[in-house]
Symmetry: D2
Subunit: 342 residues, 4 copies
């Protein structure tokens, strides 16, 4: 039996990657697509790579027909998202890909995002969507909050280490390298090919990136004490992929054991042999996370490197994996495509 799906905000990259993945999913059918600025256009016009698909026309949100829809993916900007989701019927399951329901604390939300949260009741029911760590709650959730793509990458490297108490909590540095699609399809000068290609830069340096809100929340919760990490993202001349180089103080063998143990049965987490580091080339377009552990020459220090595709495991693939759980489908359905290399 197929499940009917709607995607709100389908004209961005997370929207189009959802369509890409769902197009070969055995048990889902796309019934409705919204995109306010492109309403009335076909998806083929907005994303010509999808031109072979028979898809509903893009509509305004207020014109959406959600009759028979089982689950909605909401790929709208934060702030808009909370308003729209508040107005959806309770009977429809929702996966939000924005930041609106990631932070449990209203003050933290306002600090990082600059606006007060207007759907606090709903917020308390939302489950944080990092599948491997919230699987059981996601299965029963009505509303799941997709994680930040950077936040996901860092957490795959660090959650087991914090939970297993194998690292020093005061000295954690996440130096992260991200491709440009994480910034979306917006028209900004620094995202132009002529400005971005053939070079790199750090941004949001010094602890100002919003995904720190998620790190703070999740790591502190896990540790039972406040944990603050250092986090510096860099923009790289590539379209997809995040590589997080994580510097920790802790024994490399213990770190490796912790990760191996945590992810031994996970279908989408590939822990590399001890001493090897992953590359984003090898996860492109797929739902896999690759993790490597290397001991530093300085005793007691370890480097963990995590790689994932920001649009898939960091966003749309994660969302589909969660949708599978929420609809009692095989968790891996539609997601086993191998990475595209080269």
């Amino acid at each position: 039996m197929t499940h009917n799906i709607a995607i709100l905000g389908a004209s961005g990259y997370t929207g189009s990657d959802l369509v890409r993945l769902i197009s070969t999913h055995p048990d889902m059918t796309i019934k409705a697509l919204s995109a306010n600025a492109k309403a009335g256009q076909s998806m083929s016009l907005v994303f010509p790579h999808l031109r072979h698909l028979d898809l509903p026309e893009l509509t305004k949100i207020e014109d959406l027909d959600l009759t028979g829809v089982d689950l909605v993916f909401c790929a709208l900007p934060h702030k808009t998202s909370q308003n729209v989701i508040s107005s959806l019927p309770d009977t429809i399951k929702v996966i939000d890909l924005s930041a609106d329901f990631r932070l449990r604390d209203a003050a933290a939300y306002e600090t990082w995002y600059g606006n007060p949260h207007t759907a606090l009741d709903l917020q308390t029911t939302a489950i944080y969507g990092l599948t491997e760590f919230y699987r059981d709650q996601i299965k029963n959730a009505r509303l799941v909050a997709g994680t930040g793509c950077n936040a996901a990458t860092g957490q795959y490297a660090l959650r087991p280490l914090i939970a297993d108490k194998v690292i020093d909590l005061d000295d954690i540095i996440i130096d992260l390298k991200t491709g440009v699609s994480g910034a979306g399809r917006s028209l900004k000068q620094n995202l132009l090919h002529a400005e971005l290609s053939e070079g790199t830069t750090a941004y949001a340096v010094g602890g100002t990136h919003r995904h720190l809100g998620e790190f703070d929340q999740e790591f502190s919760l896990l540790a039972g004490q406040e944990v603050k990490v250092q986090f510096t993202p860099h923009l790289l001349p590539m379209n997809r992929g995040i590589l997080a180089t994580v510097y920790v103080k802790g024994d490399a063998s213990a770190v490796y054991a912790s990760l191996s143990n945590a992810y031994g049965n996970e279908p989408f987490v590939r822990v590399l042999p001890f001493g090897e580091a992953p590359a984003t080339h090898h996860i492109r377009g797929s739902n896999f996370v690759d993790l490597g552990v290397v001991p530093d020459r300085i005793k007691g220090r370890t480097i963990v490197v995590a790689a994932l595709d920001n649009l898939v495991k960091g966003s749309s693939g994660q969302a589909l994996q969660n949708a599978n759980l929420m609809l009692s489908l095989d968790e891996t359905a539609g997601l086993m495509q191998a990475p595209l290399f080269p």
Copy 2:
């Protein structure tokens, strides 16, 4: 019922893309992989993006166990290929991705490839693997010769026009732009990132590229007279994709009608609305060919633009489509993945 598959020469890009595509094929199992220079290694070591798959170890060709194998994909270099295929049991179907069985004329083969053909008997049984035009023969073939990737691109643009006699046969120019993966994984200075990125050049200028052998053969056969085209490939700083800009003398409406008619029911050929030109971005990683027709400002001249992924529709995807036919499977099985964009 699954079909057992072997891939010879699995350590190149066409080999790895076959594995990528077959990994989600519902009716095929990879039973054997050969790669002489990498024998004894795991496929994960040679292609880490495939590390989640449970694959047979790479072996030398002479150590291959083909028991129970229904079909072999042969991704070896030309010349080696004809020797290896000659020694395979008749009962196994074969798809050759090299150039060895593309040219029906032994002299033409020797002219373009520099060595005499040593399996001429076998050659006479080989079917040229451009699926849409040789479908019925491929269904019943034991040996199918995969086409050149550039040759495929040019033919998708031109075959219907020649067959329908809507263009002048004396003035055909194929100006082709290709990504670098078509050159394979070989260590050549001009394929280095530092030499290739951020620039472009023409190569094999003046009619010296080997794929002209295929154009000459196929177009002359279709036209019933000798047809010689001009063909200039260019190497672009991108990994996948071919764009062929084809200049013809003929009425654009007739050209468009010819293409629309030829491909109207084809699952993998997407003819764009009249006047639009395709982009390689929109076929990356997929088995689709996109075709566009635009009239020139000079009356009676038309530009046809064709785009496909050299490793998929130009090679491994084409091979899998043919394998589906040869094994009486659904022609599109394992091939409906949407393009990866961005």
Copy 3:
């Protein structure tokens, strides 16, 4: 003695490349820079790569102080350019990098650019800025019109051949590949890294690109009869560089002799050995044009390939070369930097 220079419209790529080149010019000093949208900002803020230079602040055009200025480079959008230049004092020499003074025929201008020309008197005094062909007139000009970057590339390949009558005028095809900086610093979706990198497409297919106005004018003038070429530009994932692959009917030796003869003493035109084709990698950042001639396998047909940097020889470098002439300086001053490779 230094000459005082002003640049109008300094916040675009042609403006910044003028500053780059002039920064090591022995006889020029930048006295004024305008950029309406960025007025009040420093050039360092707008173009951080120039942060070591001591430059005047960006101003609005109406606030420019042109006292003592000998020559103005006008890098404004077309239409704006003609208005601004009309209001400059006669005593200041002007090089316009826009399209406003390239076309001698008012009707042709309106056809290609969509607006009537409002400075027709001035237009009749403008010299077309393709240095090697208008050198003597440029030396004495008050107003020089910089050429289109694509138009320059095609003309370097074709002008001598038309002048020497060694090719058929009815069958000329210019298949051109250009980097993205030619489109300027404007915020357009197709110029985003995520949209442009790793792929290519044709645009303005069928004879709609504005630079055809220049080809029509110049080639017809040279030939003494109407000449219309086919011209298809392609956008490539690279920042700088144009490669024009030009298909002509004519004897390759005669073509080569014509080009060798025309450019034998030119400091910036490098004619390659017969049979070799140039690459844009080898002219990047420099004022050189590279030209190659290759005979086709079809008798009587020849391929000419031209490569130049659209921002230098195609625009700002050309402008500086012309400025040197207009100011009676050494024509090569400030322009002999070798290309940047890799």
Copy 4:
């Protein structure tokens, strides 16, 4: 008066970038070029971007005529370099771009490079070529050892901080991102465009990169105690440029004051306004180093970001700057070219 120059090992990227820079140097003439594997070829054949220059033919080292040569740049591989330099006449000044004379301690050299040093006497006379810190000794040196490109980048960020004692010496992390030209023109699979573009990876993780030998030597010497840093390089899909993100414990204002003070009068070091981070786009092709300082949200922690062009300030430009000093020329001669952007 011009100085005569020879370049040994001119067929690599550091060799060609020396030629590029020297080609517009007012006081240097290239008299001899060696490249054993390319002996007998012209430089134009090996590096077509330099085809406008009138250069001596490439020779074998043993066939070099060094008559009248004042200074030799030696761009040979390490180990070869020490042998060749040992045999050069004392009267010729030498700048070695290899690793052979960077490390003062013979045991350290053998540890990092795997072979015993065979020119220890010569080694004791070599001056470490980080211009801003060894300027006076370089002026009087006969042999200067060019630094590692990564080692230079890290030292620009850290030397003043260690000298001024404003950071904790036990907790220094250099997370470095480098373009591919640092790996030279060698044919390695991971340097192919198809393998490298569109992704990133860490390499030499855990403290195994050879440039750590330089960090250990220089930082320990400066501090008067053993200093060991963590250093993880990453390979990025770009040709030129290094960005080092350096994590230190120390007050950001003190860090900024230290850097500002150290580099206030340096012609090639551009310290950005407090709180800003540099980009490699803005130093490409030039001899500039850009430095930024940003305080972390965690009190007492600071991020320093350094950017330079590995082939220029990290290698050939540094060498030329040192050559200017050794020949009593203006230190900036031939080096003031602005960065190439975009």
